[in-house]
Structure formats: C-alpha cells, structure tokens
C-alpha cells in the first residue's frame, strides 16, 4: 500500500492559495504589528549584540571592546561546554518523549469516548500553568523522603533532584508532564484533518489498525509532526525557568544548561559581555537547528 498520492495534492493546495489570496488583506495591515515587533523585539535584540564584543560588567560606565575574546573564552569554558552537553541531552529527551506521549494522548482522545472532552481539558491543563509554578510544584513531588511525593506513590527511594545522575531526567520528566498536552493539541488538529474516506478505503482494502495508522494517518500527520518537533526542540534548547526554579543548575553542575549559564554570567558573576556572547551563540545555534529541521521535515509532508 503506497502513501496517499502526491498528484492529487498539488491542485488542491494551489486552489486553496488562490482563494486565500483573493481575501487576503493588504500587507500594510500588518504594519502596526510589525512596527511594534521591530521596536520591542528586533531593535533591542540587535542593539544587544554589540555587548557580545565588550567586557561590560552590566553596571557602570567602564566598557571596552574586546573583539572576539568572549567567544574564545567560551571555547575554553569547561562549565559552558558541559552545559551544552546537558542542553542537548535534555532537548533530545524532551523532543522524543513529549511528542511520543503527546501523540499517544491525541490518538487516545481522538476516538469516540464519552469523556474525551473532559480528558482533553485535563491533559492540556498543565500547559497554561506558569513553568516556574510547575517547577515549585514538582519540587514537592520530587521530595526525596521515601514516604512522600512520587517516592511514596511508587514505593521508591530515589533522590530525584539531588542525585546528579538523575536530576537532568527528573527535569525532563517535569517538562514532558507540562507540555505533552501541548503536543497533543497540535496532533489532534492534524488528526481532525485526516479524511474519513481514506480510512474507509483502507479498511475495504483490508488494512488493520496499525496499517491504517502507518499508511494513512502518519503521512498526513506530517505537518503536525514538523511543528511539534520544531517547537519542542526550540523549547528544549532554550529551557530556563524550570531548571532555574527546580535545581538552579545543581547539584554541582549536573543540570546546568546554556540558558542558566548565561544567566549566571550576566547576573551572578557580573560578566554581561560574556553572557551576551553566549546568548548570541545560543540564538544562532537554535536558528540553525530549526532551519535544518524545517527544511528536512517539510520535504516529507504530503496532503490529502
């Protein structure tokens, strides 16, 4: 059984675009929003880049240009380099588990259950809570006391946030708990877009549940997969709030991410220039990863 033919997709897509163009408002409708965006986001971001080439402490007038010295320091900074490893591990764990769980939840609440509306709300609820609140809440859930929290529930004796070899995964678990519902909603939207006729046709051809998922649902979910992977990758790479509130990078340096390192350089160590250099590297890295991801994932998208 071949995936849905691409031949039918093209006329459908161009027809939709034509319809959209006719009704599209003129570009200057976006001008006020763009102006605000430029003033509040673009200008400060670009103006801030200059500091990456200085040794400014964050306060006072003393500042001199140091060229690329900050980037050289970064390469030799054991702590920052270690945090890159943590950031990548955390990102991979979050991307895989969050989207896996999100997809399963979406498939689960997509079937005709009586309580599915309620379940959708329940699974989505953590998304609307502030990440810092979630981290504080999970600090209680991750209490090392064997009689309370998650340990009490599962009968374990794990030092969730205090054991350096476990802490990073505990944070990943917390993030997945919060954002799996977010992935679920995007997958659900994708599932709603899969035409029932295709399922019926596949059923008549004798396809089972797994085959219908593999050859009908999965290819048509590709746009949702693209968005989910991209959003969770970006979210993972720049993860800050949850780590900061739950462990502040500890125990030792076990959960230090690039974001917490750059925060500490700016506000704890008073090295604003160096911190900006790290931020710049992080921004470029996130941009590069997302561009590659979008380019690759887009190429495998099909439409019904």
């Amino acid at each position: 059984m071949t995936p849905v033919t691409a031949g039918r997709a093209r006329p459908a897509r161009s027809a939709r675009r034509r319809r959209f163009d006719a009704a599209a408002p003129p570009w200057w409708f976006a001008a006020p929003a763009l102006a605000v965006y430029a003033l509040i986001v673009l200008y400060p971001a670009i103006a801030g880049v200059i500091y990456a080439f200085t040794d400014w402490s964050g306060i006072g007038q003393d500042m001199s240009f140091v060229g690329l010295a900050n980037f050289g320091t970064l390469l030799g900074d054991e702590q920052a380099m270690g945090s890159i490893g943590n950031t990548l591990l955390l990102t991979v764990a979050i991307v895989v588990v969050q989207n896996g769980v999100g997809l399963l939840l979406a498939l689960g609440v997509h079937v005709k259950l009586k309580s599915r509306a309620l379940l959708r709300v329940v699974f989505f609820a953590p998304v609307v809570v502030s990440p810092v609140m979630v981290a504080f809440l999970w600090k209680y859930i991750y209490n090392p006391d064997p009689a309370s929290g998650l340990n009490g529930l599962l009968g374990l004796r794990v030092d969730w946030l205090g054991d350096p070899s476990v802490a990073l995964w505990s944070i990943a678990g917390m993030v997945v708990w919060q954002y799996a519902g977010y992935s679920m909603v995007i997958f659900l939207a994708g599932l709603e877009g899969v035409p029932r006729e295709l399922h019926e046709a596949a059923m008549i051809d004798g396809a089972g549940t797994w085959q219908r998922f593999r050859y009908v649902t999965w290819p048509l979910l590709a746009p949702a997969v693209t968005i989910n992977l991209m959003l969770s990758t970006i979210g993972g790479l720049k993860l800050f709030d949850q780590v900061f509130a739950a462990t502040n990078g500890g125990p030792g340096y076990a959960t230090e991410t690039l974001s917490t390192v750059l925060y500490k350089q700016a506000f704890v160590f008073g090295k604003f220039g160096y911190s900006t250099a790290i931020a710049l590297v992080l921004a470029l890295f996130v941009a590069a990863v997302s561009l590659v991801q979008v380019y690759y994932l887009r190429s495998r998208e099909v439409t019904a």
Partner: protein
C-alpha cells in the same frame, strides 16, 4: 481574520476609524497622566522614595518605614521585597539601565554581584560618610562597610553562624549542655543518632545552605591559626588547597560519612530543613542566626529553639566563630532623590532604629546602648565576638565567582562526585579569575 470581520459586519473603514479612535484615546490618557507623575517630585508635594530589598529585610523595613512616615510625612517610602536571586537580577538590570531605585539592597564587603565593593566601585552608590552613625562602626567591620575609606552601605548589625537546635530533642537524648569541642560535638551527634533523631538537618538543594557548615568550621581551622589569612590569600601567598579549608571540608564530609545528616541532603530544601528542626524530626541545623525567625515561625513551641557556636577545634579556646555584617542597603548615587534617600538612611542609623532592626532579625546590633536587646538564642556567641570572630568568608573574596563555585563543589562532594582536592582546586581557580 477576514471571516471575523465579515461576521461582525464591520467594514474596513469602520474598523480603521475604530482603531484610530482607540489610539487617540490612549494618547489622551497618556498625556493627562504625565503632569501627575512629575508633580510628585515638585517642591510642596510628597516625595516618593522607592526601595527594593530582599525578603529577610521585610520585617524590619515595614516597621521602620511606618516610623519614618510619622516622623516625616512629606516623604513616602514604598518598599518591595523578593527572594535574593530575583532581586539580584532586577536591581542589577535597573542599575545597568541607569534607572535604579532610590534605595536598594546591598551586600556588605565584596564577593557578590550586589556587594558594596562591586556596586560602589562602579560609582553607583551614594557616599554616606558624612552621617553620624558611620563614625561609630566597629573597626573590625569597616571592610564590610567601606571602600577606600568611604562608607557606602547601611547595616543594622551582625549575625552569626552556628547550630540552631531543639532543646527538647537534646534533653530527650540525654544531652544537658551544648558541646564545646569537636570531639564533644561528634559525641552529641552520635547520642542523637542513637536516640533515633536526625542529628543535623541539611537542606543542600538550596544553594546558599551548602556553604554554612564550611563557614562554621573555617574560623577555627583557618583564622584561629592565622587571622591574616585573607590578606595573604589576596596577595597570592595562600590558597584554599593549602590551608585549613581542607580540614574543614574533611570535617564536613566526616559528618556525612558517620550518618549525621538527613538522608539525601542534595534533594532537601531549606524549607524542609527548617521544618525538620522545628518539628523535632531533626535535632539541629547549622544556619545563620538571621533565619531564626523562620525556624520559630515553623515551630509549635518557638521557645524550644536556641543556638550554640559550632566548635570547629578540639581546644575550646581555639574555637572561633563566623560573625558577619547582615545584608544592608545603600542609596543610589544617580537617583532623582539622592538627598532624601540619604536622609532616610541617616534615620535608620539612629541607635533606636539600629536596635529595632537588629531585634527583628535576631542580630547583634552594630552599636549598642542601654536599650539594645540581644536575642537570648545568640547570647552564647557574645564572648566570641570581641576577638574570636571573623566576617563571613565571601565578604573578602575578590570576585563574585568563588561563592557559587563553593556551593557547587559542596553539592558534588555530598553526592560523592568529586574529591576534596578537586573541589578546592576549583575554588582556587575561581578565586584567581
């Protein structure tokens, strides 16, 4: 978007007129509020002073701000408080942007990004040297208050680090007096452990808590032997690795090895540590006296809690204690109301106000008179304060990196992820940065 407009039956023209109207209305309100804000800085109207502080300053500040309001109704001090990390972020950002609050929290000495030396060094703190109270700062505390001979920070006194203990739990375990030597201290812990309580609660998940046990021991293992250690270290003639710091770390880990801490200290927070001692689940916690009010608040019978100095040596006469100037405040040098802000600091510097502030946080008042009161819990520290006390170590460290490294290596040591050699090497590297 277009659908929405169609359904709402609003034409593009109507929509634009609507938006235009909104914009005009916004501008109009913006203009009308502007004169009001400038009026507050004018001559006869009230002056508003903004203060941003850390959470431990709330109790004394609320009390003294109210008193100042009565003494000087023309000035209104609005105070806001937040945990240390947040304050550090927001105040440093405001300082960097040049719109600092008139008064803000400042840490004594050097060693943190919000410390007196770092901020005054950038020229952002007003000189308070002309005020009467600055003339009576005890000589030993001057490095905490002064940079190049000028005073830049107000602080109401000093706090000590020692063991906050539950007297009832000690009695039940058959201990009638606090220990005065290290050997006695270990024996007390052993007795408590045998009695089925956690001898020492340790909340090392909260970073700043990690440093307190080393701070409690280092005065005896380093400074009792060489009171000029700080100067030598600054001159590059001494290091963490080749000093009593090593012994202090070994003693710290010995407590862990003997099972005197609660299970999994790296996963335990300050709040959990507090409640363990307050409820009698643990017998003591090595803490700074400024958090005594937190322990008392959590306890059902607050009078059961007291403190004793941690004996870091086997000769009771060689035991030294850490006594540091408590977190204070300074006036922004470039604020709009520098003179008014300084006048408020001068008010805080009056003896009765020093007494009030110190009382609220169980501190030892900076200067004392007949009406000064000293919390009974810290009475046992007073014999030490004259010549066997040293400021908290970080107050003389040359940069803001050593302290966070100290936090991190203690967590690594507790987790068994590092050796004392590696830990002290990292601290020495940070010190030399």
């Amino acid at each position: 978007m277009t659908d929405l407009l169609h359904h709402a039956r609003v034409s593009r023209g109507q929509f634009l007129r609507m938006m235009g109207g909104l914009a005009v209305a916004t501008l109009a309100t913006a203009c009308s509020t502007r004169p009001e804000t400038t009026a507050s800085t004018g001559g006869s109207a009230t002056t508003e002073l903004k203060f941003v502080g850390v959470a431990d300053q709330k109790t004394p500040m609320d009390e003294l701000v109210a008193a100042y309001q009565k003494a000087k109704p023309a000035v209104r001090v609005t105070a806001s408080f937040a945990p240390t990390d947040q304050v550090q972020t927001s105040v440093r950002t405001q300082l960097g942007a040049g719109n600092a609050p008139d008064l803000h929290v400042v840490y004594p000495g050097n060693g943190s990004a919000m410390s007196m030396s770092q901020i005054a060094g950038a020229g952002l703190l007003a000189d308070l040297s002309a005020q009467a109270w600055t003339k009576t700062i005890p000589a030993g505390f001057k490095p905490a208050f002064q940079l190049d001979g000028k005073t830049y920070i107000y602080s109401a006194g000093s706090s000590v680090i020692g063991a906050v203990y539950n007297k009832k739990v000690f009695e039940r375990a058959g201990i009638d007096a606090p220990p005065t030597t290290w050997t006695e201290f270990l024996a007390v812990c052993e007795k408590l452990k045998k009695a089925g309580v956690v001898p020492i609660a340790l909340g090392a998940q909260t970073p700043w808590v990690t440093q307190l046990i080393t701070y409690a021991l280092v005065p005896s293992t380093v400074y009792a032997k060489d009171p000029t250690f700080d100067d030598k270290q600054l001159a590059g003639q001494a290091s963490f690795a080749d000093s009593g710091w090593r012994q202090a770390m070994e003693m710290y880990l010995e407590l862990q090895k003997r099972g005197y801490f609660n299970d999994k200290p790296n996963g335990t927070t300050f709040e959990q540590q507090t409640s363990m001692v307050a409820t009698g689940k643990a017998a003591m916690a090595i803490q700074v006296s400024a958090v005594l009010p937190d322990f008392r608040k959590a306890a059902t019978s607050p009078d059961d809690l007291s403190m004793f100095p941690v004996p870091g040596a086997d000769d009771a006469n060689a035991v030294w204690i850490p006594a540091g100037v408590v977190v204070g405040l300074g006036a922004a040098a470039k604020g709009r109301n520098v003179e008014e802000a300084k006048a408020f600091v001068d008010f805080l510097g009056r003896q009765e106000n020093i007494n009030a502030w110190a009382k609220a946080i169980a501190a030892i008042p900076l200067t004392q008179d007949a009406s000064s009161s000293i919390d009974p819990a810290v009475q046992s520290f007073l014999p030490f304060t004259k010549d066997r006390a040293v400021p908290f170590m970080d107050q003389r460290w040359p940069n803001a990196e050593v302290q966070p490294v100290h936090f991190a290596v203690v967590q690594e040591l507790l987790a068994g992820d590092a050796t004392i050699d590696e830990a002290l090497k990292k601290m020495d590297e940070a010190y030399r940065k």
